[in-house]
């Protein structure tokens, strides 16, 4: 009886010990597991939490240092937006850190001229004709701060006037390559503040012609797009398909469907490519982030699925964080958060959340290079077109060297390398090149 009692007591004791151990483990684990789970959380709320709560430590990053997965908690989690951790942190990751620099912009952009422009009630910029940033200062307490950031991004001088051969890779999970596309975009700014590049075309903001060269089922397809100074006016577009041997008018107002199998929609262009008046806006303040702001060359891709830039140069940048919420109830996004460089007004990161569940739907991140570094660190040449990069020097602008677009729900990604070079058109040549005449025939 006594032995039985002792045995029972022992069992109870051991059971209590087990429970105690379990409790200690659970308490310990509770301190760590949420952080691990949190890392996988790609909800809108978790990004807002990161923006509000995560701040870089006092320890400055050293230029030239290479950050790896071991630096994740101590340095990187505070500088890479939380929603991107799942893709940007991987075992053999290698981020070279560059000094944070100031990038002088063209003196022309500082010119003042008497222009009467304003933001109207729905946040639309009215009367502005380019040539410089519309808003030289952004104040956090300005109720229109978010719109002003985006207007600076949309009218940023130096965005166009480029020849941009591109290669795009479409990859699934584990790096499965689905498609490669090659195409060239040539674009020109018409609205230059006090004048239009082509006199008589003052209503035109910019024009672009893009032509595919591979794969063969798309080779020769080209489109021309005209955007207008009047933000309320939709772009005009034409698509020439070699199989039809004639151009076809296209519709610009449909901006939410994925195109050509790529993982972005037209509205994702440069972080925000939609209409300001179709959205509600909120300025979320400034935030330091890591950006591929002035890369040496077009980055290679790494990570489990080869979706993200790897072994490239990153720079800590001050960004304006802008929250954009579509007014339309049937819009695929519930919210979009854009990180726009506070000095250059280039978009570095964009996160868009699914209207169905507020989880990440699409994101993009951009690779940029300062034009004045083209001589000492020339970027890669396109595989099908050799360019004279000396034409880029002296413009004091950022050149877009590519981006990665991820659709988190598929999951699938589109990575693009842009081999961007400056190209200045004369008025006569622009008139000839960006014309319907040029769209009625193609390479065949």
């Amino acid at each position: 009886m006594k032995n039985t009692l002792l045995l029972s007591l022992r069992r109870i004791y051991s059971c209590r010990l087990f429970i105690k151990k379990l409790a200690i483990f659970a308490i310990s684990a509770s301190l760590f597991i949420p952080a691990l789970l949190h890392a996988e959380d790609q909800s809108y709320q978790s990004l807002r939490d990161w923006i509000d709560n995560y701040r870089p430590g006092d320890e400055a990053l050293t230029p030239g240092q290479h950050l790896t997965i071991n630096d994740r908690e101590s340095k990187l989690e505070a500088l890479i937006p939380h929603t991107a951790w799942k893709y940007y942190f991987f075992d053999d990751m290698d981020m070279e850190i560059a000094a944070t620099r100031n990038y002088p912009m063209s003196d022309d952009w500082e010119k003042e001229w008497p222009v009467d422009y304003k933001l109207d009630d729905d946040g639309t910029l009215v009367g502005f004709t380019g040539g410089r940033f519309p808003f030289t200062e952004i104040h956090a307490d300005d109720p229109m701060a978010a719109q002003k950031v985006i207007w600076n991004m949309l009218w940023r001088p130096g965005t166009n006037d480029q020849t941009m051969p591109m290669v795009t890779w479409l990859r699934g999970e584990n790096g499965k390559l689905d498609r490669i596309m090659e195409y060239t975009s040539i674009n020109t700014t018409y609205a230059r503040g006090d004048h239009s590049l082509v006199p008589g075309y003052e209503e035109v903001k910019s024009k672009r012609v893009m032509e595919f060269r591979s794969p063969r089922d798309m080779a020769g397809a080209k489109d021309m797009s005209i955007s207008y100074v009047d933000h309320h006016r939709e772009n005009s577009g034409w698509l020439y398909m070699p199989a039809q041997r004639k151009p076809r008018r296209t519709l610009a107002s449909e901006r939410t469907g994925e195109l050509m199998g790529m993982d972005m929609i037209r509205e994702d262009n440069s972080g925000f490519g939609g209409k300001v008046y179709e959205n509600n806006w909120e300025y979320l303040g400034k935030r330091k982030i890591l950006a591929t702001n002035n890369v040496k060359t077009n980055p290679e891709f790494g990570g489990d699925s080869l979706w993200v830039p790897h072994k490239t140069r990153w720079e800590v940048r001050d960004t304006h964080v802008v929250l954009i919420k579509p007014k339309r109830e049937d819009h695929p996004y519930s919210a979009r958060v854009v990180f726009v460089d506070a000095e250059t007004f280039w978009t570095h990161w964009m996160f868009a959340f699914d209207a169905k569940d507020d989880q990440l739907l699409r994101m993009n991140q951009h690779f940029l290079k300062y034009s004045e570094d083209y001589d000492k660190e020339p970027p890669a040449q396109a595989p099908y077109l050799k360019q004279d990069f000396s034409e880029t020097l002296g413009h004091k602008v950022f050149m877009h060297l590519g981006q990665t677009d991820i659709n988190a729900k598929k999951p699938h990604a589109t990575m693009t390398h842009c081999f961007t070079n400056k190209k200045e058109f004369t008025a006569a040549r622009a008139k000839q090149f960006y014309s319907l005449r040029n769209m009625i025939s193609g390479r065949r």
Partner: protein
């Protein structure tokens, strides 16, 4: 020697896909000035009738290799990187060659009677020089020029004839247009008053006329044989109750293709007015539809009915306007409009027509014809079917009208060949034909197509096409799935269906199921594989 060349050519068609795919893909650069692209494709058509599995026959096993090249011999005012070209800024030379071998001709014994016509094709289809001398540009050579807003029906797109011999008009028209030697000059004008993006285009075809060609020899799969018996020609005429032998002599009256008096040409003025693209077009040429004049017909002293007919391609004048407009606010659609008036359209006059309807007594007349096409393109969300991408929906309403119509107008394509019957009994080996294909003054067709893409990278691309003639109630459906398997390899599977709601009127468009009956069916299953390099 010729035999070896043919074998070599066939070998080239078969192997070029494999070899080329190992080289590169898309456009291949040779140096900075020369580009090459192309594909090899195997295209298999199975006709199927009432029973899909048991009633099918292979009609085509068409293997195509196409090579396209572009040589930039003048850039930035420098020819061959050496010589100044004065005001000429850019110039290129483009060529497009095609080699075809249809193995069905060797596989099927019944094709022996065709004497290999249509079995092989080795052609430089297009070869032209582009010259840019702003604001003028010029394209000289063998080329295609496409005007108009209409898809797959002809109104303004009449500059190049079509080759309908191997698969009617069911293929991409880029592949079945017959390129012509011509000059095409464009003066890029730009803004004129309230007109924007204007240009004037002039085309001149000095002496290269070709009619649209159709096959008439059975059992060539797409032979235009009309209705009735497909494997017999009419060889008799029944006059009263007496059967006479029929002897038809055909005189080729098509314009001599090498005479300058046969010059064709036209112009197009295009621009934008108030965000509406518009064009005004005029073309002076020849009808590519061939008409038939009866020169003489009657019994000779041996009791044979002799008919002498002359094929004719009359002069036509085509005047047309087009417009397209992107309406973004309310309908989010692109509206397309095309309208033409054409004079000189050849028509047949029914036998026995009164003098007033057949004033020349040759059973032939020319008519004036108008066309109005209204089309709508719309990227449309159907979330239940595709949550990632829109459907591109395109519809057309096409109305053709004979302006100076008379009740004796007949279509020439739908003769009905039947066994000759005398006193209620069929006469063995004797066949007569009748033409009961009276033309309607107004002809309509409605088309609808929808396409989208599926899969993470959009590699699965379905297409649905529907065309319907409301008067004859004849209809056509195409259901197609294209799969972009890799950067080199594309597979397609498609089903063509012909059907009708009621009646047996064949209508003017060749839609409907009158050819879907046993023996003359044409429902088809098509499988193709394309290597693109």
């Amino acid at each position: 020697m010729l035999m070896y060349w043919n074998q070599f050519a066939k070998l080239f068609v078969f192997l070029s896909a494999t070899l080329a795919s190992m080289l590169s893909w898309g456009i291949i650069n040779f140096g900075e000035d020369f580009e090459l692209e192309g594909y090899a494709k195997t295209y298999n058509i199975m006709k199927n009738g009432a029973s899909f599995l048991h009633d099918g026959e292979l009609t085509h096993q068409r293997n195509t290799a196409q090579l396209e090249g572009k040589y930039y011999f003048l850039r930035d005012g420098q020819a061959f990187n050496r010589f100044s070209a004065g005001p000429i800024e850019e110039a290129t030379f483009t060529f497009l060659g095609r080699a075809v071998y249809d193995a069905a001709y060797d596989i099927r014994d019944s094709y022996d009677v065709l004497n290999d016509r249509g079995k092989e094709e080795y052609k430089i289809r297009e070869a032209f020089v582009d010259i840019l001398m702003a604001p003028f540009s010029l394209r000289l050579g063998k080329q295609q020029v496409v005007w108009g807003e209409t898809d797959n029906f002809r109104a303004l797109d009449v500059i190049n004839p079509l080759d309908r011999t191997w698969h009617g008009t069911r293929e991409s028209w880029e592949d079945i247009r017959i390129p012509l030697w011509m000059a095409r000059g464009i003066w890029d004008i730009g803004k004129i008053g309230s007109f924007d993006e204007t240009f004037l285009e002039v085309i001149l075809i000095p002496d290269d006329f070709k009619p649209t060609i159709v096959a008439t020899k059975y059992p060539r799969p797409w032979a235009v044989r009309g209705i009735g018996l497909q494997n017999h020609d009419a060889n008799s005429v029944l006059i009263g109750n007496t059967l006479h032998d029929l002897n038809v002599t055909v005189i080729d009256g098509a314009p001599d293709e090498r005479k300058f008096s046969n010059m064709q040409g036209g112009f197009r003025f295009k621009g934008i007015w108030n965000e509406i693209d518009f064009s005004i077009n005029y073309f002076y040429g020849f009808s590519q539809t061939t008409g038939v004049k009866v020169k003489s017909a009657g019994l000779d002293s041996f009791g044979t009915f002799n008919t002498v007919v002359e094929t004719v391609n009359p002069r036509i004048n085509v005047f047309g306007v087009t417009a397209s407009f992107s309406e973004d606010r309310y309908t989010q659609s692109v509206f397309r409009l095309e309208s033409t008036i054409t004079s000189g359209v050849p028509v047949a006059i029914a036998a026995g027509a009164p003098r007033r309807a057949n004033p020349n007594g040759n059973s032939f007349d020319t008519a004036r014809q108008s066309v109005v096409m209204i089309g709508v393109d719309r990227p449309t969300w159907i979330p239940a079917l595709n949550s990632l991408r829109t459907f591109f929906i395109s519809t057309q309403f096409f109305w053709r009208r004979y302006l100076d119509y008379n009740n004796y107008y007949q279509g020439g394509a739908f003769y009905d060949v039947q066994p000759a019957v005398v006193n209620g009994s069929s006469v063995p080996g004797r066949y007569v034909s009748t033409n009961n294909n009276r033309l309607d003054q107004d002809e309509f067709v409605i088309t609808f197509s929808a396409s989208t893409s599926y899969g993470a990278a959009g590699l699965w691309k379905p297409l649905f096409v529907f065309a319907y003639d409301p008067r004859s109630t004849g209809a056509y459906n195409k259901i197609k799935m294209e799969y972009l398997y890799s950067k080199h390899l594309v597979f397609t599977l498609e089903q063509h269906l012909y059907w009708r709601v009621s009646g047996n009127d064949q209508g003017p468009w060749g839609l409907g199921s009158y050819l879907a009956e046993p023996g003359i069916r044409r429902n088809e299953t098509v499988f193709s594989a394309t290597y693109q390099f």
